[in-house]
Amino acid sequence: MSSTSITPIIPAGKKPKKLITTERVVVYSVLTLCALFFLFPLYIMVITSLKDIEAIRSGNIFVPTMHPTFTAWGKAWNSACTGLYCEGIKVGFWNSVRITGPSVIVSIAVASITGYSLANWPFKFSEVFFTILLVSSFIPYVVMLYPLVLITRWLGIFSTLPAVVLVHTIFGLPILTLLFRNYFSSLPQELFKAARVDGAGYWRIFFQVYAPMSVPIFTVAVILQITGIWNDFLFGVIYAGPTNYPMTVQLNNIVNSVQGGKEYNVDMAATILTGIVPLAIYFFSGKYFVRGIAAGAVKG
């Protein structure tokens, strides 16, 4: 057969396909069903918080109310009772802000500088140090709860804001230091050498060369710390003391408080309010969030 006997006839181009195949239907149905499962609690939370208590008692958990009201939200924020007093979850919100702010700043500052030192100024036992750090980040925190009670008591800060900030900082440091150390090690060594040849010192190199290049890793660290500390419960209960209880502890107390019967709508409003900060961070930070939680998932 000569080459000219072949003429471009059908089949040519893309193979015609059915728009809807069984495989596609299965893929999208499974994904959609799972999405519904994941969204279901969010839906329940929102519609419950918008109902009044009568609608909850008489109505159905799945069905949204015809007369949505934000009364429950107001009550949750301002006047819900925790068992001790009735000032709403706003107390917890501000406590959480006061706990999270210093903890995030201190832990990231210390961890970034330590990570920088480990990556660029190898000292005699830096390998040993690094290994201990790695192992530390896996130690379950319950093992250290009581020793830390003793230490904070000894420092005279047990049941205060500084105690809980200190504990968060301590538990954040191993994983954050690893994060920064790995990031700084991945930067080219020539950069550090060039800066030294140019006469820059330890701090100048850190602030003027490394820090500006490290916005992504700082973002990851901030996300990891804010969500981690905001969502913490155990450290808040143990070390903060009742006047400094963070939002999660306040939420738990509000929901478990039995004064005047259970108000599910107020509970759900308070739950949403507690979840809203990390959710907002999640929605705005995109890909950094996944990196952040992946790094933090091993944390004690």
């Binding site: 994941f38 159905n60 530390s136 319950v142 999660t248 759900m268 996944v290 091993v298």
Partner: protein
Amino acid sequence: MMLIVLGVFVGGTAWTVLFSFTNIKIVPIFTPSEWINGFVGTANYDRLFHTDRWMECPALSHIGQADWQLQCRGALPNVVTYAVLSIILSISIGFLLAVFMDQKVRLEGMFRTIYLYPFALSFIVTGHVWAWILSPEYGLQGSIRQLGWTSFSFGWIADRQMVMYAIVIAGIWQGSGFVMALMLAGLRGIDDEIWKAAKIDGISTWRTYLQIVLPMMKPVMVTTFVIVSSGAVRIYDLVVAITDGGPGISSDVPTRYIYQNFSANLGQSLAASTCMLVAMAFILIPWIRMEFGKKG
């Protein structure tokens, strides 16, 4: 600063382990001589494993190994139940979701956002939502009965036998999206040419996933296993929010047991903490072997 922190980690852990072998009381002891005087050997461990709240196995000698899990009650069996189920379920759900997400899906970003958002929430938040959904009176059970299916029964959180499974549901809801994200990253990391080679060899898509891709995902699987199981072992907030250990103490877990015994039974608390440390060490073995084995 870091040295102090490491001192706390190493010293604190050592302190807990060492004093779990003493008759330590609420007023703690610090010095070596006190430690020697207070030394009681494994007495705390003996008492711990004879405490029903920690572990109660009726006639352990009469039942087979396989029944251990089903027969025993207490904080330790509870956490084993929770860990085993959440590892199996979240890894299999996470892997399947990742495979489905890998099929060049439109709206992938949207699905990913939906699957992952629970992971941003606090266990306390997750716990209270699910406690409300699963509450027998007004929740799922009550609402479905109200719709006419009066025999419908889904009262797991009020059922001593089933309550841990209810907590597993909430845990899966929160965690499997994250497992999906890890697995999807693993799938995307697989060399495109492997897929091409399999296509030339005429291997069907599902078979490629099962026989070629899945074995290649071993490192991702080990990492995921370590992350999921170490999280499951220290489960606490979720239980506090959903049941606070109830009904009775039927959903108690080690962390809660340890925390609640600090004042009354410090020695046992420390012994229980040490047990968790040992459990974590076992979980880390496959990961350490993978991480350090390849260098050697």
